[in-house]
Amino acid sequence: MSIFLVLVRKEVKELLTPQLVVSIAAMLFVFHVIGRSVGSHNKASASRNGVVIVDLDRSALSRRLSAALSRAECAVTHSPARDIGPALAAPEHDAESSFMLVPAGLERDLAAGRQSHVAFYSRFRKNASGLGPVMAASRTRKTLSLVSGELSSFVMERRLQGLSPGFVKDPAPAREFAVIGGRVEAVPVSHVVAFVQSQSYFFPMAVFFIIILSAQMIMTAVASEKENKTLETLLSSPIDRRMLVLSKLTASAFIAAVLSGGYMLGMRSFMSGIVGDAAPGAASSSGPALARLGLLITPSGYLMIGLSVLVCILCALAMAFILGLLAEDVKSIQAMMTPLVMVLMLSYLLPIFIDMSAANDGIKLILYAIPFTHAFLAPQNVMMGNGVQVLWGIAYQAAVFAAFVALAARLFSGEALLTLRLRFPKVR
């Protein structure tokens, strides 16, 4: 065997440890769970394609629109309401998110070659997340295009003279409205979705990296203290061991607070970039409407998000602290991070793809049991006016943090700290 192959073989043997294999297997498992959950959720979500029609025209044309939507496998419900307000408030339509208002005189106006308007209302739920709003927006676009095509056909069938091509192509331009928590604003649904989605991707990603960074930091600190035997020296000192735990966590909490502060500054800058006057793009042109919908985060909202992120990082630090205590040495930290990274990935990725307002109870239970999920969802919940859920999340995260601190203190007060090791069986 050539010396090169001997060297390669030795390197592979050094790198391919049981810890690494377990880490990879765990990651595969997490991705499999996420894939399965998202797949079944999306199937269920796709079957909820429906629209509530508030028909003020009650004409052959409005019935034709309804039939066209039904043919396109859209579940059409007719509301007896005489305006959009009562239809949105009606308890029987509580689960519906798409509404179409057909104005009185639509058929008469189009038949006379006069322009009219059809209004579309998209309702966003308080705890909507992930692809739910995107799919709702996509359904609205599909409905809008189908209605526009049908109305265009109606006009063309009349063979009226002297009409502009623009009118024939789109005789009743759609007016889009977004409905959030009872507030109704004229704003394209795609702009609302783009704005809300930015929170689903950007902010959780930032929190994700902060958690990984701070967890790795404290785990390395604890494991290296153990490896260098500086911990044994400290433990043999007359200092109260609970104080040792608290001092480590306080120092880490300070760093976590700095990281959260940085996170909040980044978020503020990101938000002002989106809605500020100087910011280009479609979303910024809708800034005032987004603000009136309550999507702009107030100082108290920032405080809640910051608090949620801070307690989330503290939870991660307390868990990482215990995992660090179980680590044999600094080298084994990668493997010790696996359980933390697994739950982090679940709580980060699943809400991106799954609409929490429509998810089944099992998925909800798992996700809300993971303390990190509450921080990932905090910006969206604050924007959607779901502050109570954020506060409950903070309380839950604080309870989890307290439980892990108590466990860490217990580990510190006994000899388990020096004797406990999480070892993988040796592969022969």
Partner: protein, 239 residues
């Protein structure tokens, strides 16, 4: 009063017994050495005395204080130096001594006095201003030994105190230990260096398989085995 009394000391882990019924005393001001092959329970014994591990059976008392029931009081009387211990690499030597003095003595003026003593004991002079990560193994060990004894503990427990030190530094450390013992500090040390043991110790405890095989002065042990060589005593006892 004895500085240390160990009675029928046992430490059992899930699948093996590291220490099996160890009994010995250390007198105040004495340098007592625990010797034995690797893995016979010396470090485990020292850790039990240093309150880091709890005995499975038996008892240990330090100046009359039980290491389990009065662990906090015992920690005020001892100073423990683990084998191959490290220091905080991003601190300077002086910062490390100051931090440890405050942790062990919990009193500013006393800690400052201990730091002055520690600076003198380690002999690192201007190097104390440098970060520990720049130190050689020998320099770090000297700093750690100074840390262990600068607080003037009543019982200093040193696991392999001169391991990794060159001849000159090892000699200096041995002289320091001897001097401090003369000033009243009791030492319990573990070592593989028979020359060092013979130079330092008043009495030696020879361990094997978690048991005490013999416990006496170097001279008495040599007489017992009719030899001038302490290493030969060790080999005949442990094989």
């Amino acid at each position: 009063m004895n500085a240390l009394e160990a009675r029928d000391l046992v430490k059992r882990y899930k699948d093996f017994e590291a220490v099996s019924g160890l009994t010995f005393d250390v007198k105040e001001g004495e340098i007592f050495a625990l010797v034995g092959p690797n893995g016979v329970g010396k470090s485990t014994t020292l850790k039990m005395i240093a309150t880091l591990l709890a005995p499975t059976a038996g008892s240990v008392s330090v100046f009359g204080c039980d290491v389990v029931k009065e662990a906090c009081r015992v920690r005020e009387l001892i100073s423990y130096l683990p084998e191959e211990a490290g220091a905080y690499k991003n601190l300077t030597g002086r910062e490390y001594l100051r931090f440890m003095a405050l942790v062990f003595l919990k009193d500013g003026p006393k800690a400052e006095a201990a730091v002055v003593r520690g600076e003198d004991l380690c002999g690192l002079a201007d190097k104390l201003k440098d970060k520990i990560k720049t130190y050689s193994k020998g320099m770090t060990r000297k700093l750690l030994i100074a840390r262990a004894v600068m607080i003037a503990p009543r019982l200093a427990i040193l696991d392999e105190p001169t391991s990794g030190l060159d001849i000159v530094n090892g000699y200096e450390v041995r002289k320091t230990i001897k001097r401090l013992a003369g000033e009243g500090t009791t030492f319990l040390i573990s070592s593989h260096n028979m020359g060092e043991i013979e130079f330092l110790s008043g009495r030696i405890g020879v361990m094997n398989n978690g048991r005490m095989l013999a416990c006496d002065t170097p001279a008495a042990l040599k007489r017992r085995f009719s030899t001038d060589d302490l290493e030969e005593v060790f080999i005949r006892l442990t094989q």
